[in-house]
Amino acid sequence: MSRLLSDKHNPGTCLIQSVTGDLAPRLLEMGITPGSTIEIIRTAPLGFPVEIKIRGYSLSLREEEARCIELES
């Protein structure tokens, strides 16, 4: 079973299963690669963007970007 980062809001650590869609190249380059660990830190007041930690740095993603990231559960 897998789900998208855009569906999951609770803080915690997850493994990235795949990165797909139009925005994938950019996300991959930022180090969001399949198999790496992502930590969900928090969401902004209206639900998005979501702040994540990847490869030791913090990044904020809008909903359409979070939708490209599939997590292992």
Binding site: V19, D22, L23, A24, P25, R26, L27, L28, E29, M30, G31, T33, P34, S36, I41, R42, T43, A44, P45, L46, G47, F48, P49, E51, R55, G56, Y57, S58, L59, S60, L61, R62, E64, E65
Partner: protein, 718 residues
Amino acid sequence: MLIERALNIALVGNPNTGKTTIFNGLTGLRQKIANYPGITVERKSGAAKIGHYKHLIIDLPGTYSLNSKKLDERVTYETLTGEFEHEETPDLVLIIVDSSNLDRNLYLVTQVMDLGIPTMIILNMQDVAVGKGIYINPDEMEEKLGVPVLSISAKNKRGIDEIKRAIENQQFSIPSPLKWQPIEPLKKAIELVIDKWIRPYTDLPEKAYIIEALKLISNTVSPVSIEFEGIEHNEIRRSVVSKAHSIIEQSGGNPVAIEVMNRYDFINECTSKSVARSSTDKKTLTDRIDSITTHKILGPISFVLILLLMFQSIFTWATPFMDMIDLLFINTGNWLAANLPPGLLTDLLVEGVIAGLGGVIIFLPQIIVLFFFISILEGSGYMARAAFVMDGFMSRIGLHGRSVVPLISGFACAIPGIMATRNIENWRDRIITIMVLPFMACSARLPVYALLIAAFIPPTTVIGFLDLQGLTFFGLYFFGIIMAVLSALVMNKFLIKGKQSPFLMELPDYKMPKWSAVFHNVFDRGRIFVTEAGRIIIAISIILWFLASFPKTDIPESQPLSDNANIASSFSPQINPDAYQLKHSFAGKFGSFIEPAIEPLGFDWKIGIGLITSFAAREVMVGTLNTIYSIEGEHGEVATLKQKLINDVDTDTGKPVYSIATALSLMVFFALAMQCMSTIAIVRRETNSWKWPLIMLGYMTALAYICSFITYQTVRLL
């Protein structure tokens, strides 16, 4: 072998790596900032005297990748490969790496190394890395990467000296391409694309071959941006690329991801040898600050508090200086007028040049104070948090979280607000922010609002402490915001093309802002405004002076006294020569000429003149009305002007010129119209073309006309 000449040295690196600090450290104040020709990316360069030579240092835009469609990141890539016109290719690349954030920074390093340009890697922010429990062995890393690695902290001068010494000793080498060891199928695919397509059919520089091949391979969705002539060539390219894809797919790889994953695998291998990490589980300072500044409720509250502080400071710090500057220029003008022989040249100097210069300098205090704050917010890392907190609201109207601070700065003055939009990365978000920003009720509108409200809105109490005057004031501010939001929505939906690019914003660790960097930024922005926008502003004020002063009218010896005391006395040549001259000038004639056009808004020719002259700046309206209504020696004396306005009677109908409908209509017009040449000038500078300022002028004036028309006609009926 040493190169015995001055070098072109390019600084490359991710955003937030301290690249600018290194640039400032190397070049000092000997910097040149200009736009790249034809585009809106700023080009920073400066000279650094190292040893016997004065090297040219170019600070290229911060970038995460060379494979980017974003304009500023493309500038970096194209400058490095020599594809960018007018630019010389660098002799040496310094790649600045944030040591506390190695993985993602090394990604760019592996890409730059593929270009085969002499390279030196600078591991910056050592102290931060150590604080995070990251210990790097530069020698190990140097061995793995095959290019010199220098480990420094640019915060202190010693770090800069070490860089200088390394440049003097020419501690750099040409990296071997594909150092990141692509797996066999990918390597084959790269070679195929280069041999069968890039080399025979394109005129790309050899440096760019590998990156270009990888761009073609990883891009499976949209066609490549470079347009090639001839369908035949496109066919060849497509067949070569699809062959490359099948090589990768046959080995079970994904063409989109394989390169990136391969590079990151290499980076992992590299850091596993050269980096020791001690795990620190304790909450960092950044985490603790973030738990407040990005909190769902406390975040927006702290944002509002910071803004309040900023505005209070503008009033406390900038306003006295603005008053001083104002006074200084008025006195200088008066003194010159009194001491120079009267004549055209003196007039031009006093009313054109000095007034124009004053109109430029007067903005400096606000620009300095606002950029002082903006530089601190940006340098400390808070700006990204503000954008994070506000993005949910802003994305709903098609803007970016980073648009908030520039927009709110617009309440003080549109000029620093527009200059601050440089921090919005996406061009489309940026242009929409610029285009709607002048709707924010800036401080120059205040005197006009104050005059008209005091004169025509009765201070009737509405509820509690609120009266009609206060409510009108609030209404005008609110009206500006609503129009900005609506305009942004419309532009976003229909007018300005292009996709919103990914948001993907890094939230860098908090750090103490570097005061020298704050100073540099404030200094740069002030200088850019004065030198680049200033020229346009002075030119326009000379034109406006000309329009208001010519043709010269001889004041007749005597004139029969008119029956209508009020109007006649204002414009009788003996009593008020200034008003008489203004009425017969080009501006006056134009005011009369446009009267039929502005009559449906409830304006007469006197207001028409004011609308023309107030293009210099909105508050000039008050001064012009002063001149017309001849309140000599009592500049800005609102009460007197107020009475004159109330008493002004139309000579034909005998009714007051200013009804409440006219007053409201005029306020609406001032809320919306683009009456500020300085804004026009700075939009020209920031967008690097006349297109956007002219569109702005057109659409804001049209909107002002329509809304004033509606206001006047509606209120008159009521």
